[in-house]
């Protein structure tokens, strides 16, 4: 199994613990990665579509040349690229225009065949659950975990859950928590926004959202939350102290990146997954994990 690896900006910037965890976990699982180095930021829903679509078309064309599907480790990268890919593959005239006006100059052409998949989807759709289960070395028994997807890993339907079978994507993280032996602490806000996109425009609302979701998980008795999106992580972990101060309540909920959580079940030690780099202490998770085999 081989993928063109698109790590995104934040996994090497604001959340530098994510990139090495993802690389280690992929290697352990036998997922071969060829990192895409000469491609740009997706635009993250900030850049307008008429700039971000050509930039993403260029990324897809590069992967197409490699003959590989793209693997992402960020719900936002995944969502923005999936939406762009939906437009580019469902509207051949639009794709032709972008090829002609933006990519031809570099001798590139996007033919519309590149698949873009988040690591979470790859586990279920390509890797296979039986194979994954056989790799578990440390079932995370007794760890109560709340899922938090990141909006773009669940919506919009035409790009993310285009068929009835793929609507199961909305539940992958819940399923994975139980497959890895942990206990699901379900929360109503798991598919909602973490607040990060409006941190600049409306900080108060942004932090209120972060407090709401982490607070709900805490009330449900979660030891930690797991997210496939580093932007959610920035708000839920990085800004949790500010959210606590604004809302006047203590939360103290550790937030794990998906590859870190997966890595613990695959037998990696917390240090190898860089848990010490989080803002909210992960001590409770580490203690529970150290008591497991």
């Amino acid at each position: 199994m081989k993928y063109a690896f698109y790590p995104g900006c934040v996994s090497r910037g604001g959340c530098p613990e994510l990139y090495p965890s993802a690389v280690k976990v992929s290697a352990k699982l036998g997922i071969e990665l060829e990192e895409m180095k000469d491609v740009a930021c997706t635009g993250a829903g900030v850049l307008p579509q008429d700039i971000s679509d050509p930039i993403n078309a260029r990324t897809f064309a590069k992967a197409e040349q490699l003959g590989l599907p793209i693997m992402t480790i960020c719900s936002t990268c995944q969502g923005v690229m999936a939406q762009a890919n939906y437009r580019l593959t469902s509207e051949p005239e639009y794709r032709a225009k972008i090829n002609r006006e933006y990519l031809a100059d570099e001798g590139l052409e996007y033919k519309g065949t590149t698949e873009v998949k988040h690591l979470l989807w790859i586990l279920f759709e390509d890797y296979g659950l039986d194979r994954l289960k056989s790799q578990i070395q440390r079932p995370l028994k007794g760890l109560r975990v709340s899922p938090f997807y990141g909006c773009f890993l669940r919506r919009p339907p035409e790009a993310i859950t285009p068929t009835k079978e793929l609507s199961r994507r909305k539940n992958y993280l819940d399923e994975l928590i139980e497959i890895l032996g942990a206990e699901l602490a379900d929360i109503s806000g798991k598919g909602k926004c973490c607040g990060f996109p409006i941190l600049s425009a409306n900080e108060e609302n942004s932090l209120a959202m972060a407090a709401k979701h982490t607070g709900e998980a805490k009330e449900k008795g979660a030891d930690c939350m797991v997210t496939p999106c580093p932007l959610c992580h920035l708000n839920l972990d990085g800004n949790q102290p500010r959210a606590e101060a604004q809302e006047g309540k203590e939360i103290g909920l550790p937030i794990l990146h998906l590859p870190q959580f997966l890595g613990l079940a695959l037998g990696f030690e917390p240090g190898e997954m860089s848990l010490k780099r989080h803002i909210v202490s992960t001590q409770t998770v580490e203690s529970k994990v150290s008591m497991l085999a």
């Binding site: 910037g13 850049l47 909006c151 339907p157 996109p197 425009a201 108060e204 500010r242 010490k276």
Partner: protein, 319 residues
């Protein structure tokens, strides 16, 4: 079949405290929730308040939550909600002031916000001779938006409204789209300014819940994104958002990827001492964990020159 409706009750003329009334009703297999409510009001309790009008899923008056799922009472088949239990919970929409029972304050929820976006056309009279017809191809997109019947389901699904009731919300911002993109409208820039005010388009988290909730396929989230993209092109008037977007675009254009440290500083404004001071505790916490991205020391990605060309071409296109 025998159904028990457990209906949310609140009467401001009594104690105003919320509670529930239970009604056991005999209904046939094809009955809708609205059939049940009408039967209760006609035969059992004429004090029960709810709204309904067309009874065929067209007017959006009977929007409510059935077993916590927002839908229209008139198209919700009772049988779809009683597979596990013969009990059905009926509640008003979330986060909205309730007037009585299932009747909530539509003005505060939606109509006042729709009024705030100036929902009327300001035609450019000088270019017309009495009529100003648009080709059908231009009207098709607007007609889709105009097919909104103000049922409130997009606002019900919105992620922002539960934390900030004053957010204009997807229904009103979709109404704004209808005029922002009407070529006959001369209000142009003024309309964008209204949409860009605090609690407007930039407060939207573009989570696509609104689009998922819209029963008409109008895609309110995509409409809001289109207004934002247009504002980006002609110049964002919300100062903080403008700083954020300008910085984001500049670092991707110059290096191919995002300089997060620079974005944090420039979003606050390099001369905004108070704003920059506010970043310090977060930066200090990150630095203590060895993870604060250092601003401006940001290497170019291979291929950055090509990205820049795409950017420049895209920017030329918009003019």
């Amino acid at each position: 079949m025998q159904i028990t409706f457990k209906v949310y009750r609140k009467d401001p003329e009594k104690d105003g405290k919320p509670g529930r009334s239970n009604y056991s009703v005999e209904l046939d297999e094809e009955a809708t929730v609205l059939d049940g409510l009408l039967k209760i009001r006609d035969e059992m309790d004429d004090t029960l308040a709810f709204r309904a009008s067309c009874a065929r899923g067209y007017c959006g008056e009977c929007t409510m939550r059935v077993n916590y799922k927002a839908c229209f009472a008139c198209t919700a088949k009772v049988s779809a909600f009683t597979k596990k239990s013969p009990e059905i919970l009926l509640d008003p929409l979330r986060n909205i002031p309730v007037i009585k029972d299932l009747v909530f304050d539509w003005d505060a929820f939606m109509w006042n916000k729709i009024t705030a976006v100036k929902p009327w056309l300001e035609p450019d009279e000088s270019s017309t001779n009495g009529e100003n017809l648009l080709p059908d191809s231009t009207m098709a997109d607007l007609r889709k938006v105009m097919s909104c019947y103000y049922c409130g389901l997009c606002d019900e699904g919105c992620t922002v409204l539960p934390v900030d009731f004053d957010f204009l919300g997807p229904a009103a911002l979709t109404k704004a789209y209808r005029f922002v993109f009407d070529p006959r409208d001369k209000a142009g820039r003024e309309r964008l300014k209204i949409a860009e005010k605090p609690k407007g388009i930039w407060d939207c988290v573009h989570c696509f819940e609104a689009s998922e909730h819209c029963p008409r396929g109008i895609a309110p989230t995509e409409r809001i994104i289109s207004i934002r993209d247009k504002a980006f092109k002609v110049g964002i008037t919300n100062e903080k958002v403008a700083r954020h977007h300008t910085s984001f675009a500049a670092s991707v254009k110059e290096s191919g990827w995002l300089d997060e440290g620079r974005l944090a500083l420039e979003s606050e404004g390099l001369t905004n001492i108070k704003g920059l001071m506010k970043l310090l505790p977060t930066a200090a916490r990150a630095m203590a964990r060895g993870k604060a991205p250092i601003p401006y020391l940001h290497p170019k990605r291979p291929g950055a020159e090509q990205i820049k060309k795409i950017f420049e071409k895209g920017e030329r296109e918009k003019k």
